[in-house]
Subunit: 456 residues, 2 copies
Amino acid sequence: MEASNPSPWALLTDLYELTMAQSYLREGMHGEATFSLFARTLPPGRAYLVAAGLEDVLRYLQGLRFSPIDLDYLGSTGIFGADFLEHLKGFRFTGSVWAVPEGRLVFPNEPLLEVTAPIPEAQIVETYIINQVHLQTTIATKAARCLWAAGGRRLVDFSLRRTHGADAGLKVARASYIAGFESTSNVLAGRQYGIPIAGTMAHSYVSSFPEEIDAFRAYARTFPDASVFLIDTYDTLEGARKAAVVAREMEVAGHRLRAVRLDSGDLIALSRAVRKVMDDAGLVYVGIFASGGLDEYELETIARAGAPIGGFGVGTKMGVSADAPYLDMAYKLVKYAGHPVLKLSTGKVSLADQKQVYRGADAAGQLREDTIALRDEGMEGADQPLLARVMEGGRILHSLPSLDEIRLRFQDEFARLPHRYKALRGAPQYPVRLSPGLSALQSRLEHQLAAVAPDP
Amino acid sequence: MEASNPSPWALLTDLYELTMAQSYLREGMHGEATFSLFARTLPPGRAYLVAAGLEDVLRYLQGLRFSPIDLDYLGSTGIFGADFLEHLKGFRFTGSVWAVPEGRLVFPNEPLLEVTAPIPEAQIVETYIINQVHLQTTIATKAARCLWAAGGRRLVDFSLRRTHGADAGLKVARASYIAGFESTSNVLAGRQYGIPIAGTMAHSYVSSFPEEIDAFRAYARTFPDASVFLIDTYDTLEGARKAAVVAREMEVAGHRLRAVRLDSGDLIALSRAVRKVMDDAGLVYVGIFASGGLDEYELETIARAGAPIGGFGVGTKMGVSADAPYLDMAYKLVKYAGHPVLKLSTGKVSLADQKQVYRGADAAGQLREDTIALRDEGMEGADQPLLARVMEGGRILHSLPSLDEIRLRFQDEFARLPHRYKALRGAPQYPVRLSPGLSALQSRLEHQLAAVAPDP
């Protein structure tokens, strides 16, 4: 249970959330609404998402307050009435949340979370909820793909310089750690989340010395037991030979060079040549670390070639999810004032009512099939319900799991997902079916709507 | 000139910036370094970038301090010595910055900014500088493409829910406004930057009423002079007819419906049919506004078809720059301790030394050609120098321009860029040449390096 500090993000919302809220209040509409957050479809050839972002959502909901500065600004726009501003002054989120725990797998149309609250409250919080879950789920998924492709080699988040802003820098470090990255270069993420931090040296460091070898010697003096030399500033193999010279000087002083880093060129060929330089110098313990425009496709190629690279710095393409920088994720009204709600506009059917997801596995624990059901349908079979009640009356119900717990949860579940769904390209769709109760409701509502709307 | 508030972002840096700084200090290396920030190449078929993000960089540099919490954390990692932590305690950025003003066009290899400071300082600030300029330049460029494609129709930033986090939400609103967007849905961006805010209504609003027409009537009661009805929740043409009914009821009460909004389907065909519904009802003044997965390519198609749509909400694909979510942007050491520096690793040649860019135009003011020169080369011709000195001794030199000034600066310069460079696809490269002085230096350094490195 966290203390409720005023949120700096109360106005980080779309204007229409507030105008609609004013209209609901003027109309006396305080009915209980449930909104469901889900991804309609995934990028082509992908089967799964890794749920992430819930902790930020819960802290936001619990701490949401409009500050006097916020209210002054809203008043100055001329859009809002004194009645509504007065209402916002005492605004609290009083609703409940059911959610998929962070780190669990999610498939298309399955709710990542469902918010139930008086409709003005549930509406106002839409934008921030999508913003955080969308980003962190996008990145955790991309990072999981990288981990899988790298076949067990260790990965370090190097993306901060090109993530989309400061918040993304932090959230990318968090989400990639959930998916199994070992560490991050982002020092603030280290402070904030306790994620291990890591780094090597830059080309500028090497360039600022008269000779490359001087740079290696200087760094070794500062970090005698924690040095990784960047060897591609001028010529990679020549750099490797100089690194080997300095590594043997370090040995004499009782220290060990940790690794050398490649950041350009043909990483497979270069890593083999550099490995030979090191081995020939008796430096079998010096690792090879590589970086430079890597993503899951490159990592898979390198891993399959069996290149002697022990770890990778993965930056930009993971940090912006370069080939799929957004998801088709929506927050839809599914129930209002006791009635299930359906929206039917072109190509965008959503599943009505409050829902639960049951995850079926075989006897060996391998994931088999999911069922989306009504929350109260009572599907007591062998399958495990995926969504848990995590907030009630605007208060976080349980202490939030640590990042390491979330990371283990992901590891455990991902190990139980059959390999074919993990393919980087052309993965088949994971089987997700609707329960009898949800199917029946869905058909009934679709018929009703078709009867109302004359032009199909 | 802004007050110097402690920065919350001091640790938003890559670990290696700090380890290298510790090593520089241990080695007694305080020499003056110049780093240059530039884009090596642009995404295929694109000719220009729109510079943005400088204001955030300057405020960061001026306010940069390490807090006691930061220092405690750094101490706890075991990576840093007491000498270095003591140094960080009193750390100030004391350097100078030359930069391209925000809103100006920039072409490949032209420095967006150059930082000169003692090397540990210039190194530590690298990550945040790239992070902010990279994001805002990426988005301002994407937004400029949207504006150009929309052929003068007004555009509204609708991206907040799917930008990469909170900071990106704000910076996307800022950058798209610089490029000519009229307003944003992001309320906090309205408060923080004074950008006009705008919005309509969501499908959930319509769904929460028994009938679509009830929703329109309710919204018109709350916002009698500022309503835009979303008409595609059930059936778009039926929705248009109901909107027309309510619009005429509003007329009777002395009000006017502003517009209707389409958010799905074939926007060209639907807008024509909806226009006819409105015109037939005598509602020629009711505008049509469209949204839903739009980017510059869609906007161009719609604009070329002459669809009767007056404005667009442009969201996700602009806000994440979906087809080019990152740039090949680097911050490279170009001068150290009085000597120009070159880096030559595979495929990554950079331009040495402190530089200036001269922008050539023809007699009519149309942009013709840029020249990258040495900063002190003295190219006093007709051409205008692009980079200005904006920070000296760690202090911002001039009061920062307003967002509206930056926006006008962009508008003016973009109007002078020949149309062929604005093409959405296959734009030719803009001519950028090197000055005699820079060419000569570059050849000399490349020869020197080739002589040093035996394996080319």
